[in-house]
């Protein structure tokens, strides 16, 4: 009898239906527990009610040995004050960065340009030529940036300072680099208001040893990190953060070294206060108080 050849059987697919059922239950459950944007809190210091002086008695004399550090923000500059004196003003140009809904691209405009465009019946312009909603453009502000400005005198309109930043996403600055002398890799821009990056400012190549303002952050740049670096206007917040770190380190022995008062005028947006509080906390000032400029 001829031997019957056995036909190779069709490979059987595993029964995936039970697994699908499990996934269908798991996904809605996880969806309800997923946090796409995480919230946090920033604590501030307020005097306790019992400590509040409700009488008209003159306030006690300030302690001459104390640091009495304050950080003031005006519409034009940031300034650090301590023991009755002030450091040089850090001038800035305020810029608003929007994310356009039409092309999902970031655009940066000066507030005065946005306001004049809105007054003439137009919204801020996107890269693809479309206009943002002139009624709701305020809700589209992704970030309020303060570009540091180099001024020769009070009358000088100044020039934007450009610096080398690390970047995680395309053209969005992350941390400014400093060299071995703790100086920013920065230079004033060219053209009107210094809005053109200076050609002399080059991106550091892979292998260069650089640091950021974060303690112990010195590192040798890897090729992938070096490729992502960008040249972007130096933030006035970063300039202030560097000064705050230096002050906190220098006066570490003083009793009130962890205290800082952030002073602002009535029109200052809340976002700027939070940015300053962040920089102060990162510099080591754990007790932050708020006060009004001239009030």
């Amino acid at each position: 009898m001829a031997r019957q050849l056995k036909k190779p059987a069709k490979p059987e697919e595993p029964d995936l239906l039970p697994a699908m059922g499990l996934f269908t239950i798991l996904i809605p459950m996880l969806l309800s527990m997923t946090a796409f944007s995480k919230l946090a809190i920033v604590e501030i210091n307020m005097p306790e009610r019992s400590m509040m002086n409700m009488t008209d008695d003159p306030p006690p004399e300030p302690d001459q040995q104390a640091l009495n550090l304050s950080l003031a923000i005006t519409p034009e500059y940031l300034v650090i004050g301590a023991r009755g004196g002030f450091q040089p003003n850090v001038y800035f140009k305020e810029m608003w960065t929007f994310r356009c809904k039409s092309d999902a691209q970031l655009i940066t405009h000066a507030p005065e340009d946005v306001k004049s465009a809105v007054e003439s019946g137009h919204g801020p312009k996107c890269k693809d030529g479309s206009e943002m909603d002139k009624e709701k453009y305020l809700y589209e502000i992704e970030s309020i940036e303060l570009w540091a400005i180099n001024k020769e005198s009070e009358e000088d309109p100044g020039r934007v300072i450009w610096a080398v930043y690390s970047s995680q996403s395309e053209n969005v600055p992350d941390s400014a680099y400093v060299d071995g002398n703790n100086a920013f890799l920065a230079a004033p821009g060219e053209g009107a208001m210094g809005l053109t990056p200076p050609p002399m400012l080059k991106k550091p190549s892979a292998g260069a040893v650089l640091a950021t303002l974060t303690p112990n952050s010195a590192r040798t740049l890897k090729p992938d990190v070096a490729a992502k670096n960008i040249i972007y206007p130096l933030s006035a917040y970063d300039l202030i953060a560097k000064d705050l770190i230096q002050i906190h380190t220098q006066f570490i022995d003083l009793e009130d070294v962890d205290n800082i008062i952030i002073v602002a005028n009535d029109d200052t947006q809340f976002d700027k206060i939070i940015q300053l509080m962040d920089r102060a906390k990162e510099a080591g000032f754990s007790k932050i108080n708020l006060a009004k400029l001239g009030g």
Partner: protein, 164 residues
């Protein structure tokens, strides 16, 4: 020529493999973003919170005051238009103060019943739109302080969605 009838092949089983791949990707993404601790703080509507590097999470549920472009809201009740707060000269926002004092008194009463110290400073979380002027923020903050809520925290959005 006779028309050739088309032979139907055997029933092809519905392949779930590609669907399984998709589900696996979604599942991994969800697990990555999973917040097992839960959220004690939820963002109010009609406002954009500022982005911060802070990672501090509220330890317990606290009374929330919301300041958006239109209203000052205490515990989901609209109390006073933000415009009115900006216009007033006085630091104390009277309407907000009376609501907060009422809430504080209830909290203290509850603490006494539970045998807890009632004279501790009250906790409050203030959610403020990032474009709100400092003037409104300062007045609301001062009002909270006057009402006995001296542990004030501002709600913020974590930078990069809280990722390292």
């Amino acid at each position: 020529m006779a028309r050739r009838t088309r032979k139907f092949s055997e029933d092809v089983p519905f392949s779930l493999t590609s669907m399984m791949d998709m589900m696996t990707i979604i599942l991994v993404f969800m697990i990555k973003n999973l917040d097992a601790e839960g959220q004690l703080l939820t963002q109010a509507e009609n406002l954009i919170l500022p982005v911060s590097t802070s990672k501090i999470q509220p330890k317990e549920v606290a009374l929330t005051v919301v300041v958006d472009n239109n209203y000052v809201v205490v515990d989901n009740a609209k109390i006073v238009p933000t415009e009115d707060v900006l216009k007033q000269e006085d630091l104390l926002v009277t309407k907000v103060d009376s609501v907060l004092k009422e809430r504080r008194a209830t909290e203290q009463e509850h603490a006494l019943k539970m045998g807890l110290p009632a004279d501790e400073a009250g906790n409050i979380i203030v959610q403020i739109d990032k474009n709100i002027p400092y003037d409104a923020m300062y007045k609301v903050m001062a009002t909270c302080g006057f009402s006995g809520y001296t542990h004030i925290a501002f709600a913020v959005m974590q930078k990069n969605g809280g990722e390292e």
